[in-house]
Symmetry: C2
Subunit: 334 residues, 2 copies
């Protein structure tokens, strides 16, 4: 019997939508959101960041979900690779895969050129095909600030009933800002599906969907409502792939009152599994903030912690490893 | 029992040494040698090139060894990835991994900055470590025009008796040009080993050696005398790795009278295995040129064809698949 081999791929991207004030908290200022994906990727691989000084923890002590993901990779021992879907700030301190992508522009002016989208789709599909020669399961995570807004516009552009259903890294989902930006982006939508996606989506959605389409075995989309948009794109271009596809997310997403991942995924037609990772009894205040609706998901945190539990680690063991990574990161900071 | 999983990684690089007239034939003009590694990589993955028009076959009909490597990958079904060690011209039509490298400058003026070498070593080692979580064997190939000259300077700088022992893609090894360039490069060598390598080596040697050092299982260096230089660097920094290391090459290299891979590798202390791939009875004139000393090796051709034979394909089956790839490429050209 073959040993099952699982690979984690983190797809990073930026969209200039994250520069719109108030739309995301994934960065201390709108400009700093451009550093978040590269910093997440660097921390995931190295346990420290080079594009920013310090560690991916807010001044209030709330950590990026990359800490959960790194802890889960430590436990499971599965390999990981980073794919740059298109970012204004690229990682420095880690190897990463280029697929010919570019940073996403503001969706109100058109996110990406059609040629870029076609090139990235081709390259990412090829990468997926190569990786399926070596791995039985591909878990795809994401880091892209304001990605729920571009997920919303993507889902609406593909005809889904997504209003009021996408999540947020903030306990106060800025629904009004998001919806007014998306409304403007959705005027004069082109007929052609690729042009439509080029206009309203983001580099992560384009890259992650094509990577999944190319991978010939089981694919797990590890993330929140953004992954419903990725699944919707996969269904659009490779409906046969849906049978091998699931979304694994956190309970902070599945229980979020401001969004509806279950409604979205049942409309798209993709299975969801939920990681019961829980920080309510953690001794770390910054982790407890997740229980109050901060962050919720990202960098594949839900999927990777669920994988660790499926491999036999208890919820407590995962929490303990996350706390260990958190303390190590804080000490490095000081 | 685990199924053995093997990955091929092609490391591409450029060195400005290839701009010196007469030093290499891996490109129609010195300037065009800068396109060769990207074109080799694109053909390997896609069966066609995008950085150049057409296919990697000379006007005389002699193909790049990437045709042998692609044919062998078709037969073996193993996955492949491309790592950009540092190139003036990057691939367009394929995914590839960045490790923070830069193109190599002329070794007479110093090939690379020390910081670049340190960064690439760190990133490539990390990549190797990640890949060893998923694969049992890593086969590393190379494409870098004028790479035998930088291999010579690297071996000499590390104290090996390498004069007259490195090979060439030409049937008339331009030994005098190579040795006069290397002699100039070796004046005023710094004491520090990393500074020494930074001055006289190339992005492929730096990247491939660090990748191998990071990979925790079996490593095959698939190439000619350049791989003796890679092995020498590995021995310098990770002597414990030597027991997991071999070089797999072609019989065109092992039988080359103008070089001495057996002498070099026995001095370095690395095992060599030889692919008996033979084109003397091929119906393709361009392939028969290999039997007259043209090309000889590159893009992992020796190692990948040997792998195919170890997996049970006959020499004739490999030749037939190479001929098929060749004809397909030629037809695409017309």
């Amino acid at each position: 019997m073959l040993q099952e081999r699982t690979l984690f791929v983190l797809v990073i991207g930026t969209t200039d939508v994250s520069l719109i004030p108030g739309i995301t908290i994934a960065g201390a200022t709108p400009e700093l959101t451009m550093f978040t994906p590269a910093a997440d990727a660097e921390f995931l691989v190295n346990g420290r960041c080079q594009v920013i000084n310090g560690v991916p923890i807010t001044p209030d002590g709330i950590p990026s979900p990359t800490i959960i993901s790194r802890a889960s990779l430590n436990l499971t021992g599965i390999p990981s690779l980073v794919v740059n879907g298109g970012t204004r700030v690229k990682p420095i301190g880690i190897p990463f895969i280029e697929v010919g992508g570019e940073p996403g522009k503001d969706i109100r002016q058109g996110a990406l050129d059609k040629e870029v989208v076609l090139r990235v789709r081709e390259n990412a599909e090829r990468l997926g095909r190569q990786l399926s020669r070596g791995f039985d399961t591909l878990i795809i995570g994401e880091s892209i600030p304001a990605g729920t807004t571009t997920a919303l516009s993507t889902l609406l552009a593909l005809g889904y009933n997504a209003l009021g259903k996408v999540s947020s890294a903030s306990p106060n989902n800025p629904v009004n800002i998001k919806e007014s930006v998306v409304k403007e982006a959705l005027t004069n939508l082109p007929e052609d599906r690729i042009e439509r996606l080029s206009k309203v989506s983001d580099p992560m959605i384009i890259t992650a969907s094509a990577l999944a389409e190319g991978f010939e075995n089981k694919v797990v989309l590890a993330g929140g409502t953004q992954m419903a948009a990725v699944a919707a794109v996969i269904k659009e271009f490779s409906p046969g792939k849906m049978k091998d596809l699931s979304i694994w997310t956190t309970k902070w997403i599945s229980q979020d009152k401001s969004s509806d991942i279950m409604g979205l995924t049942s409309e798209v037609g993709v299975k969801v599994e939920v990681s019961e990772l829980d920080f309510s009894r953690s001794k770390v205040e910054g982790l407890k903030a997740y229980e109050r609706g901060y962050v919720k998901e990202g960098v594949g945190a839900g999927g990777l912690s669920l994988l660790a539990m499926k491999m036999g680690f208890t919820k407590e063991e995962v929490v303990r490893e996350v706390e260990r990574e958190y303390e190590e990161a804080r000490n490095e900071k000081i």
